[in-house]
Symmetry: C2
């Protein structure tokens, strides 16, 4: 088990990563003074509940805690104000008070939803993240929590840092292959934007990672979380530096939205977006390997790099215009200066982006 | 116009109090760097809109700002997640972004609701309070914002401090007499818990205040806000000292809930609650004047001090047990040591409270 700290002054917290971390859940809760007198609520989804809920409940009860739980439907639609109201109703009925904690056991959807419950229940209670997907190595660190509005994703939320993140790599064994690859897309992003040697390590260990080799997985997630933790430490509330985490996301989010959330997984859309951003970087003067290497590594992990033919250019451009990451109509893009180093540009024209999106349909 | 600061480090903010403050709204927005390029949204209710919305919109437009507005139904029921979703939908349609501000123009209901929109829209945008009731001198200072759940008041919310509070005492002229008296109840509370000489001043100026004499009103609200600001500065997130603001609220909230919100106004219920708390204080050893003076002053302001006969004791006790202010079944009470000085007690038994509540039906 390895430990990493997200350094945020009095809101600092540890991330525990490794195989078997969940076996230590009761002592870790005790160490971080989670209340044994007040009930705590585990929020999880149907899928994750099947594999892990019984074990987590049993260990907490044995440790003297008072867990209750709420199982929500899997999928993005569950991140709604209606579900928030339902969970709060159950928390009230179970007697959760200001000393209670909310625990997210699951992927990004559960983390975002449970996190916003924790941020707003009685104006904020303690929150613990237990990510069970690779993708959630990203979303579980940094305190960004939210639900969706029918007209916009993640538009109602908060910055609410967890007390700790428990990342048991054994829980990843039940993930389907496609989700593993898509999850590794954000790990690769963390290498590309921050750490060339980690990028090279990922390149050399793609086989081990795709076959879920424990040691490799622990190292990759540790390094990925480390990049995220460093960036968040320097910019908790997304005032500046944190924008670099959006590398690949400007085009990626638009592709995801046009596909209707589901056709491409988030990590797959981001993979295509990173290829586009890398191509744009070279056009703006970065060395050619920025594009060729980015694309080669993503392909090595079995990730898509070409935009499917039926995605309409005008729809992608329009989705991008509505994205909240734009500042007053100007296009903000995160470009790669070189592998492991980014720059934030706010002078990208719509015409340049259109050209890149069209080229994404011709990638081989 | 007088100015007061709520001292919270980098989240410090000013309260501007006086007749005609709203005439200065555009320069004050400019002074505090409210964006002129991003739209801002004024949230107000049907009642307040009639008197003040047109003037506020005109002044902001003349000042180069881009105000849009949302008129919500008056009353506590409007503080719901459904209304939050509706307002967020309109904010999105109007193009509000991260640089936008949300402005609450109205009483406590509008302030709580608009404040929670500001706290959660895009994970937090700037917020301005423009209270238009006397009661809101209390709720508009301190950053506590929330909506209701069908099963509990104010249970979903945040601590989100405003950028500034604009308190134009001229807006109070349209209030009905009963609301003026009820609003002054919380002003009296601020005197009782913190400042004996302010309490004596209130006692001597009840006539001026009830007839809305400008100078008297400005002074009373300035001093009332000053107490609130001092307490909030020392305990932003309700960890300890802030509990003293609940003087009169333990019994008061229960009375309000049993009456079904509406039979007694909040300030009226709190008046009865303060008499109960003062009686309990004397029982626990405070000088008798704590009770006699508290009661006499409240009566001088035309506030109720007797619990109406039809309020059932068992219902009041049960409502109190469910109040989130109780710690593990023990009864926490704010008692008066003397006029202007409180203590927090956590050893009050249910039997003692029952006796007090019964006596409240016999007050004369």
């Amino acid at each position: 088990m390895r430990e990493l700290t997200v350094d945020l002054g009095e809101r600092s917290y540890p991330i525990y990563i490794g195989g078997g971390v969940l076996g230590e859940i009761a002592p870790l809760f005790e160490k971080h003074s989670i209340s044994k007198s007040a009930p705590l609520m585990i929020v999880t989804d149907e899928q994750v509940a099947k594999y892990h809920l019984r074990d987590v409940l049993a260990r907490l009860e044995q440790g003297g805690f008072k867990p209750v739980y709420k199982i929500v439907p899997s999928g993005e639609k569950t991140k709604s104000l209606e579900m928030l109201q339902e969970i709060v109703g159950e928390a009230l009925a179970a007697g959760l008070d200001r000393k209670s904690a909310i625990v997210a056991l699951g992927g990004g959807v559960v983390g975002d939803l449970a996190g916003f419950v924790a941020a707003s229940y009685m104006r904020g209670v303690r929150f613990i993240q237990i990510p069970t997907t690779i993708l959630a190595h990203d979303s579980s660190v940094g305190g960004k929590v939210a639900v969706n509005h029918p007209k916009a994703k993640n538009i109602i939320g908060a910055f609410h840092q967890p007390v700790m993140v428990l990342y048991d790599t054994d829980t990843l064994r039940t993930l389907p292959d496609r989700e593993i690859r898509a999850g590794l897309s954000e790990v690769i992003k963390h290498g590309l934007i921050w750490d060339r040697s980690f990028t090279e390590w990922l390149d050399a260990h793609s086989g081990d990672l795709l076959s879920l080799h424990s040691g490799a997985l622990e190292h990759a997630l540790y390094e990925g979380c480390k990049v995220k933790a460093r960036v968040v430490s320097e910019d908790e509330r997304e005032g500046g530096l944190r924008a670099i985490l959006n590398f690949g996301h400007t085009i990626g989010h638009a592709v995801e939205a046009v596909g209707g959330y589901g056709e491409l997984l988030h990590g797959e859309a981001i993979s295509i977006g990173m290829v586009g951003a890398a191509r744009l970087s070279v056009k703006r003067g970065s060395p050619p390997e920025v594009y060729t290497e980015t694309k080669r590594i993503l392909q090595k992990f079995g990730l898509p790099v070409r935009l499917p033919e039926h995605y309409r250019l005008d729809e992608i451009m329009s989705a991008m215009m509505h994205d909240k990451k734009f500042k007053e109509g100007k296009m903000v893009f995160i470009l790669l200066k070189e592998l492991g180093k980014v720059e934030i540009r706010d002078d990208i024209s719509a015409a340049e982006v259109e050209e890149i999106v069209q080229q994404l349909k011709q990638e081989e």
